[in-house]
């Protein structure tokens, strides 16, 4: 079926819905593979950062400093300035739209501490995270969806986008599979926004939902758009042992501490100033180090998160969901027992490269692809650099989601529909038909699980040349095996086996780009830590990776793009200490 809209937004998480809000006078379609309220934004717990200064003095410039330093200086500084300046107004916008923030005694938005957020350029922790209990993302998602209902936004729920349509260098639509009927649809548009989220399911232990399969990144990559800084993937220090479900940094923001098998609060030893509130890349590495030093619990590969000293009342009031997870999935009572945790795959700093208006740029010269936008976790503007600070993703969604919406509103005024390419659906139909008819006998579930194990073994917190090469060979093999994936379900109606097979290809693409970036980057920076190159190397590596897809896993082409710095000496790259 063919349909035409001014704007097509793919993804109904925080970024997609925030963009949709900015387009009251356009015809807009929001396509989402899950019901809007099931989007992964709903899982975010801790909060959204903005220097409101409600409890103590704070300034956007301090926030910007923390963001740049937290990202180990791989941050494009003008973008970080926009992020932290506009965060303030964007949070007020959320409040005006109904978001039920926790409140201070005098009725203002309550704020709490979070990792890496400091006062006065690193002096000590600051209260910057605006929150709604430990379900801030849930409240953002609900509030934005509610506003979308109010504005009568048109949703296409349970539509899986398969392809981006590009004609003569201009984006002009998408092709999608309607999951319920198995029908293929073409959406013709002047502007297309990808807000499809991350790819945390590439790792076995992950905090990410099943839907986080890297869809948007892969689709763009296959249309010649490079993926930027994919080696910068964040592993959150406190995933529930083995399960990966996240215990928010809010637990440490409220005073929780990490405890090793010897009963020692070890972060004090590594990071004397910020201790347990040091940025995530550092804390995750400290945990891995403790485990290597034999300080894991019972010599095993986990340590504890301890919140016992906070007391039952504070735990119930500030951390209800987290407590619930520990009880439910581990049978552990956080009020009286420490909770077993390990680092878990969490967040993609990299993604589809964009400028600060969320326009997708396709090379090191910042050439835009007209009509194509990306925002949220799928995009790389790059405000998170080599390591994102907690609560900075939700800000990213609302600030750059909003900017995307505003820019598209202008773009559709000034531009007409570009014609669709000939036979726009052919590639997608051929691909889906192949999956239906294949008799290769291979199982998508097997391939996915091998991929996830390989990524945990060799593309995790610590990396080496040898391990990364192993992973690359493995991915190449899995991509070959993918050609033989065979479905048991041949039906059209709600074929989730087909959906999972399609998603697996997305995941393989993202993993491939991640490994290439990591292999080439012979330094350690932020979340990318090379055991064989332990130092940061600003002379050679203060630059962004761009990975272009080749014909197979081994021949990805890499290019590089300068990091944009500003003149102010306070933001000059220096060693990161906390």
């Amino acid at each position: 079926m063919y349909q035409k809209f001014d704007v097509v937004i793919v993804g109904s998480g925080g970024a997609g819905l925030m963009a949709a809000m900015q387009l009251p006078n356009a015809s807009v379609a929001v396509l989402t593979k899950v019901y809007p309220t099931r989007s992964h934004t709903g899982a975010a717990q801790g909060g959204v950062a903005a220097a409101l200064g409600n409890q103590e003095e704070d300034h956007w410039k301090w926030h910007m400093y923390d963001t740049v330093k937290g990202g180990d200086y791989l941050v494009d500084q003008p973008a970080a300035e926009i992020l932290t300046r506009e965060a303030i107004d964007a949070v007020y916008e959320l409040e005006h739209r109904g978001l039920p923030f926790n409140r201070t005694e005098d009725g203002r938005i309550d704020q709490r501490r979070f990792g890496g957020h400091t006062r006065n350029y690193g002096e000590g922790p600051v209260r910057r995270s605006c929150y709604a209990a430990d379900r801030t993302g849930h409240m953002i998602l609900q509030t934005m969806y509610q506003n979308a209902i109010k504005n009568e936004v048109r949703f296409f729920n349970e539509f899986l986008v398969l392809d981006l349509l590009v004609n003569d260098g201009q984006a002009c639509g998408v092709v999608a599979l309607e999951i319920r009927t198995g029908e293929i649809h073409t959406f013709h548009a002047k502007a297309i926004l990808f807000a499809t989220g991350g790819y945390g399911r590439a790792w076995r232990v992950t905090s990410n939902a099943f839907a986080c399969m890297g869809d948007g990144m892969s689709i763009a990559y296959r249309r010649g758009v490079p993926l930027q800084d994919m080696e910068m993937y964040q592993f959150h220090p406190t995933g529930i042992y083995k399960v990966g479900v996240l215990l928010s940094e809010a637990a440490r923001g409220e005073g929780g501490k990490l405890l090793n098998g010897k009963g020692e609060y070890f972060m004090e030893r590594y990071m004397p100033t910020l201790k347990d509130l040091a940025p995530r890349d550092i804390v995750s590495r400290c945990i891995v180090q403790e485990i290597k030093d034999g300080n894991g619990v019972d010599g095993k590969d986990y340590v504890y998160l301890d919140v016992r000293h906070l007391g039952a009342e504070k735990i119930a009031e500030k951390l209800p969901d987290i407590t619930d997870f520990a009880r439910n999935y581990l049978g552990v009572e956080p009020i009286t027992e420490p909770v077993p945790i390990q680092p878990t795959a969490h967040y993609a700093m990299g993604g589809i490269p964009t400028d600060t208006d969320a326009r997708v740029v396709i090379d090191s010269q910042w050439t835009p692809m007209p009509g194509f936008y990306a925002a949220g976790e799928v995009a790389c503007v790059s405000v998170h650099g080599a390591n994102r600070l907690g609560t900075n993703s939700l800000v990213d969604l609302i600030v750059f989601g909003r900017r995307a919406g505003k820019h598209m509103a202008q773009f559709i005024q000034e531009n007409d529909f570009a014609p669709l390419p000939e036979h726009p659906e052919d590639a997608s139909r051929e691909y889906i038909d192949h999956l239906y008819s294949s008799t290769g006998g291979e199982s998508a579930a097997r391939i996915r699980s091998e991929l996830q194990n390989e990524m945990i073994d060799n593309v995790f917190v610590e990396r080496t040349d040898k391990g990364l090469r192993h992973a690359l060979d493995e991915i190449a093999g899995l991509q070959e095996a993918y050609q033989n994936v065979q479905l048991q379900d041949k039906g059209k109606t709600f074929n989730t086996e087909l959906v999972e097979a399609v998603e697996l290809r997305f995941l393989l693409d993202c993993s491939e780009a991640t490994i290439h970036g990591a292999l080439a980057r012979t330094e350690s920076r932020g979340a990318h830590f090379r055991l064989d190159y332990e130092k940061r190397d600003d002379v050679n590596w203060l630059k962004h990776t761009l990975a272009y897809r080749g014909t197979q896993a081994h021949d990805v082409r890499l290019d590089y793009k300068d990091v944009i710095l500003i003149e102010d000496p306070i933001f000059k790259p220096k060693e990161r200490k906390y």
Binding site: H40, R103, H138, A211, G491, E497
Partner: protein, 235 residues
């Protein structure tokens, strides 16, 4: 441990009517029921169909009827289900395939109660003020993940599919009792009609089903009182 999993299956392209299917699965006691469904789908029968996303009880995708009660498959642990577990789609919804139900109607009803902040004043330059006490009054309703478990457990819905249902009332409550909102009267008016709150017979199935531990029935009672007394303040 080895468990017998009985699942009500239905594929509109193949089956004239639903039937029971059985699988024997090796599971760990702390596996989620969702893990067990995945094991079946990924290693035994790829055609088994259900929704899921977050896998830890916050997105509302996988509400289903488990041993006779509406639960999220990702919040039920295998050690708690016994040697045999029976899984069906929730009642009160039409079935699309296997455990996947049609939720369009559910969301239509949600939309009908105007689930968004209604204000007529100009917005201030910063945030609107609200005290922690005012914030606490409507806290419970903000936890709702729209999973539909309450609505699907309600005999009043089974008997009258047009009824607005508990989930919608929970979400109406969330706004009616929000000190910033000015649309309370509109919503109370909507909920006082024949398919509004009065069809609730205070059976408490909804509160038992709610995976977010929202006291659903209590919230419905508060809305009833607000209607009788002409507003939330008076109730």
């Amino acid at each position: 441990m080895n468990i017998l999993v009985r699942i009500k299956r239905y594929d509109p392209e193949r089956d004239a009517k639903p039937y029971w299917d059985e699988f024997r699965v090796d599971v760990e006691p702390i596996d989620r029921l969702l893990d067990t469904l995945n094991t079946i789908k990924w290693t035994m029968d790829g055609t088994l169909t259900y929704r899921r996303s977050c896998a830890h009880g916050v997105c509302g995708s996988d509400a289903m009827r488990i041993n006779g009660r509406n639960r999220l498959a990702c919040k039920v642990l295998m050690r708690d289900v016994g040697k045999k577990v029976t899984i069906e789609p929730m009642l009160g919804y039409s079935v699309i395939k296997d455990l996947v139900i049609d939720m369009d109607r559910f969301f239509d009803k949600y939309r009908s109660i105007k689930p968004y902040l209604i204000t007529h004043d100009n917005e201030p330059g910063t945030e609107r003020l609200q005290s922690p006490e005012q914030r606490a009054i409507y806290d419970e309703g903000t936890k709702c993940i729209l999973c539909g478990a309450c609505t699907g457990s309600c005999p009043s819905i089974w008997g009258n599919p047009d009824w607005v249902g508990p989930a919608s009332i929970v979400n109406a409550h969330r706004f009616i009792f929000d000190s910033r909102d000015q649309g309370g009267a509109e919503r109370l008016n909507l909920l006082s009609n024949k398919d509004g709150v009065w069809r609730c017979r205070t059976i408490f199935n909804c509160a038992d089903a709610c995976p977010r531990n929202i006291p659903v029935t209590d919230l419905i009672e508060q809305v009833k009182r607000a209607i009788v007394y002409g507003g939330p303040e008076e109730a």
